[in-house]
Symmetry: C2
Subunit: 244 residues, 2 copies
């Protein structure tokens, strides 16, 4: 499927808007993804309003796509709707717990990827914002998410105004294990990361960041232990606050 | 995209095997999904061996697809490979924490859905097994998953030997919220669940289970509070044991 094979993340969009009919058709199709017990444990909040985008931007570290994309979609794990249905039908829901969050988050992420595939196949470009779970409380407040609803993914969408190079990927043998997981020897690590480490853009990255290795950019600059620990604590606190 | 629009879960497969070349091509394409910092925080364990399938079956409540499908794929959140790379490159990884699990799980689930789309487009049928996180310790032991590797999704794959009806979905207005989340009134719940509750198969389901409502099948039989609470406790314990 060429739209998947040739895809790249798009961070610059033209001023062209996305018609509501098209967006709704893509969302509706995306909901064909597998879902636990056919409960569809997700909701999607559509942001088109400029003022709302400006409010959301800080939660995403002010990445410019949030305000420049015509549409921002926040995909949420949602056990609220199903729980209200249960309560209104003489059934006592038991979904205020961690596995229910993970079940709903899985449902939501499958739909997120389905939407991305469909959007790209329709000529749109998307950017996946991993920042959604970094400071979810802001997003919860801005989008007015009730208990048992938790944002898990944000996608900016628009018509592409750039055609970046396709990024590298590790070779298949780095990811796929036959029958059992074979742990990585130093020689295997050298082999599977060699191409990534040899790329001029990554060498340049190391140079301008004054690190000794590419890996140090990840551990010391981009995804630091202290940040991860603080965000983990916060995330677990917010999950509890949201009722999971 | 018709392969998504018309999809249905396939639980019965012909005896035809999936060529390794085809499977590898689909997996490699699926790895084009968005991934955090291009780290590809996932691994896939391919199960073809009949003895291995039999070992995995109990972890999936002996659902027959696990032993009858030619291929079973276990998609794992994986911060092990990236962490070894870091350590071998004078970088100290800081990914033994909860947000790193959720980041890696997100990566893995996006790839899982991408794989499903590609497989179905190639004429294969898939079944998503939500059971993967119910008793992950068994899967971890059988597949020999080291610390910082956690199974998050299992897919059975094969050539379809059935053509089931497409299941219902909630209407778009049940899932999509414009600008902010609008909580559900009783009238809205009645409206959006009316079609599902009216379906003959669901009425039949209520009858044979001797419940008063369809929702009670979910709360009292299929996804019970006591089970969810026990599985949540276990899941958090296993996550800690796996180093997250």
């Amino acid at each position: 499927m060429d739209s998947i094979k040739n895809r790249r993340t798009i961070r610059k969009y033209t001023s062209q808007d996305i018609p509501a009919d098209l967006l709704n058709a893509l969302l509706e199709e995306s909901f064909r993804a597998s879902t636990m017990g056919n409960m569809q444990l997700y909701s999607v909040v559509v942001t088109r309003d400029a003022a709302m985008k400006s409010k959301l931007a800080p939660a995403h570290f002010n990445q410019p796509m949030v305000t420049s994309a015509p549409v921002v979609l926040t995909f949420c794990a949602d056990f609220n709707r199903a729980s209200i249905w249960c309560r209104n039908r003489k059934a006592e829901p038991g979904y205020s717990n961690f596995i229910s969050f993970l079940n709903a988050a899985s449902d939501a992420l499958l739909v997120t990827q389905n939407f991305c595939t469909l959007a790209e196949d329709a000529g749109l470009g998307i950017c996946y914002l991993g920042t959604t779970i970094y400071d979810p409380e802001q997003i919860i407040r801005i989008l007015n998410l009730p208990k048992l609803v938790m944002p898990v993914a944000t996608i900016t969408v628009g018509y592409p105004d750039e055609q970046p190079e396709q990024p590298d990927r590790l070779p298949l043998r780095a990811i796929v294990h036959e029958e059992t997981y074979k742990n990585y020897t130093p020689a295997m690590i050298d082999d599977i990361y060699a191409y990534k480490e040899s790329l001029p853009e990554n060498r340049h990255f190391v140079e301008i960041n004054h690190t000794e290795t590419l890996a140090q950019i990840f551990t010391d600059i981009r995804y630091k232990k202290s940040d991860n620990e603080a965000m983990s604590e916060n995330l677990l606190k917010v999950l509890r606050k949201q009722g999971f």
